[in-house]
Structure formats: structure tokens, C-alpha cells
């Protein structure tokens, strides 16, 4: 998942197209009809989605069906999880400091006992 892909999804009609395609592959006419958009708009949006790899074309008889590609969406999941990873990594670094401070307190206390 890169910035281009996210930007492609940032356009509301393109996101509607992606959501529509979740149910399965559809031809352009069907997408146009369901979303109430002009043919040229739909074609334009599909081109953008195809360019970033979010959809692919599947020829069926005389029609071209558009199908969602799973891979970029899986990458999205990773991106969402990243925020947690940032904290996880910080906390692991913090663990080391906690251990160090604990050790220091112990040796300070031992020093006082002498």
C-alpha cells in the first residue's frame, strides 16, 4: 500500500466503486447504473483504480468485468496495524530503560545497606 493507492481511495466515488466490487466482479454498465454516474466518470475512476492495482479486468463473453484485487487491501490492513507497531517498538525500548533503572535502584539500595 502506498500513498498513490490511498489517494485513489480518497475520492468518494472511487471508494463507492471499491465497496460495490466487494460483492463480486461487475461490468462497467452495472457499476454506472448502481452508482448513478456517467459512463465517462465511471471509466475514468476505473482507470485510476486499475492503474494503482486496486482492480483488474476480467473478460467474460462480450463484457469486461472489473474485479477487486485482494493484495493492496491486505496491505491496507498492515498499514492500520502500523500505529500499534510504533507503540510496540517504543515500549520495547522503554522496557530496557525500566530494567536499567530497576537495577540501578537495587544497587543503590545495596550501597546504603553497607
Amino acid at each position: 500500500m502506498n500513498a498513490e493507492t490511498l489517494a485513489a481511495l480518497g475520492e468518494p466515488n472511487r471508494l463507492r466503486i471499491v465497496e460495490l466490487l466487494r460483492a463480486g466482479p461487475r461490468p462497467v454498465n452495472d457499476i454506472r447504473g448502481r452508482l448513478g454516474l456517467r459512463q465517462s466518470q465511471v471509466s475514468q475512476h476505473l482507470k485510476v483504480l486499475k492503474d494503482v492495482g486496486l482492480v483488474e479486468i476480467e473478460p467474460r463473453a462480450q463484457q469486461r468485468f472489473y474485479r477487486l484485487r485482494a493484495r493492496p487491501l491486505k496491505q491496507l490492513h498492515k498499514w492500520l496495524d502500523r500505529y500499534r507497531h510504533i507503540w510496540e517498538e517504543r515500549f520495547e525500548q522503554l522496557d530496557e530503560i525500566v530494567e536499567e533503572l530497576k537495577g540501578k535502584e537495587k544497587s543503590d539500595a545495596a550501597g546504603k545497606d553497607k
Binding site: L80, I86, F91, Q93, I97, V98
Partner: protein
């Protein structure tokens, strides 16, 4: 054994992060508030970022400033002031991400709850808006991210079916 980090979105503009540390609260509180210690852990190393500057005037009304990033000439800055300072159990502060100044300040509440020598840290982050929260999640990403998390969640769920 690794302690689990839990991140939950509890409301449109609220994120909660939880994590237990194997040490007493005053130690975790110090690591959380002393600049010389913060400099050693706050920046996630694998992202290639460093905390260049860290100033903290730890008292109610006192201010803090973290400057971090890859290039010291072009730092990202978090700044704010302390609203509550109660060592070692509670810290409330405002937080402004200076690059997104217009988004407004978040209110961050950190509680440190000690039990049997271990400390549960709960970090509540209340963002000024839903968009600001999503901006924080998109941390490090290019701007222009307008897909809401709900939509992303749905898309992720969808990807399980289309796999």
C-alpha cells in the same frame, strides 16, 4: 516474554493504548517524563527517526516540546503543556502536532497503575476531531488520506473474502 500492546479506538476521536511494564510506577513515570530517558526510547528506531530535542518543564502549566524525525534541519514537532502532574500515577497534557496546527490540540491522559511490582500504563488520547485521530493513525503517511477508518475496516474485512 513480551507484554502485549493493545490499541483500541473507543470513540470517534478517542484512542486508548495499554501496556504493562515489569517495573514499579515511579520508574515508568520517570522514563515517561525525563528528557534524557525519553530521548532513548520515544523515537521508534526501525522508522529511522530520532528525538533530536526534548524539553520538559514538568509542572502544572509547564510546557514541553519534542522535535524528532530523520533530518534535524526539518524536524516534526509535538508540543503542549501539562494540565495535571501527579507522580507516579497520573499525567495529563495537551498535545499539538505542529505540522497540523490547524487540527487543534489533543488531550493525552497517561495513568500508571502499579500492582505487585508491575505497572499498567493506560494512555488515553482524545483528539480534537475524528479527522485528527485518523491523521495520527496515518502518522508518517503522505497527506491526502481521506478514507475513514470505518471504511478501511470494511475493506479489510472484504479482503478476507476476496483472497
Amino acid at each position: 516474554m513480551k507484554n502485549e500492546t493493545i490499541v483500541e479506538r473507543t470513540a470517534d476521536r478517542e484512542l486508548v493504548v495499554r501496556r504493562t511494564f515489569n517495573g514499579p510506577a515511579h520508574v515508568v513515570f520517570d522514563a515517561w517524563t525525563k528528557p534524557e530517558l525519553l530521548k532513548r526510547w520515544w523515537a521508534p528506531k526501525s522508522f529511522g527517526v530520532t528525538l533530536f530535542e526534548c524539553e520538559s518543564d514538568l509542572r502544572v502549566g509547564g510546557t514541553y516540546r519534542y522535535a524528532f524525525g530523520r533530518d534535524p534541519g526539518k524536524p516534526e514537532v509535538f508540543s503542549g503543556r501539562y494540565l495535571e502532574v501527579r507522580p507516579p500515577s497520573r499525567l495529563v497534557l495537551t498535545q499539538l502536532y505542529e505540522r497540523m496546527r490547524d487540527a487543534g490540540e489533543a488531550i493525552v491522559t497517561a495513568t500508571f497503575e502499579e500492582s505487585q511490582g508491575r505497572t499498567l500504563l493506560v494512555l488515553h488520547q482524545l483528539f480534537p476531531s475524528k479527522e485528527a485521530l485518523e491523521g495520527a493513525l496515518a502518522f508518517g503517511m503522505e497527506n491526502g488520506m481521506r478514507v475513514t477508518l470505518d471504511q478501511l475496516d470494511e475493506l479489510v474485512a472484504a479482503s478476507q473474502h476476496t483472497a
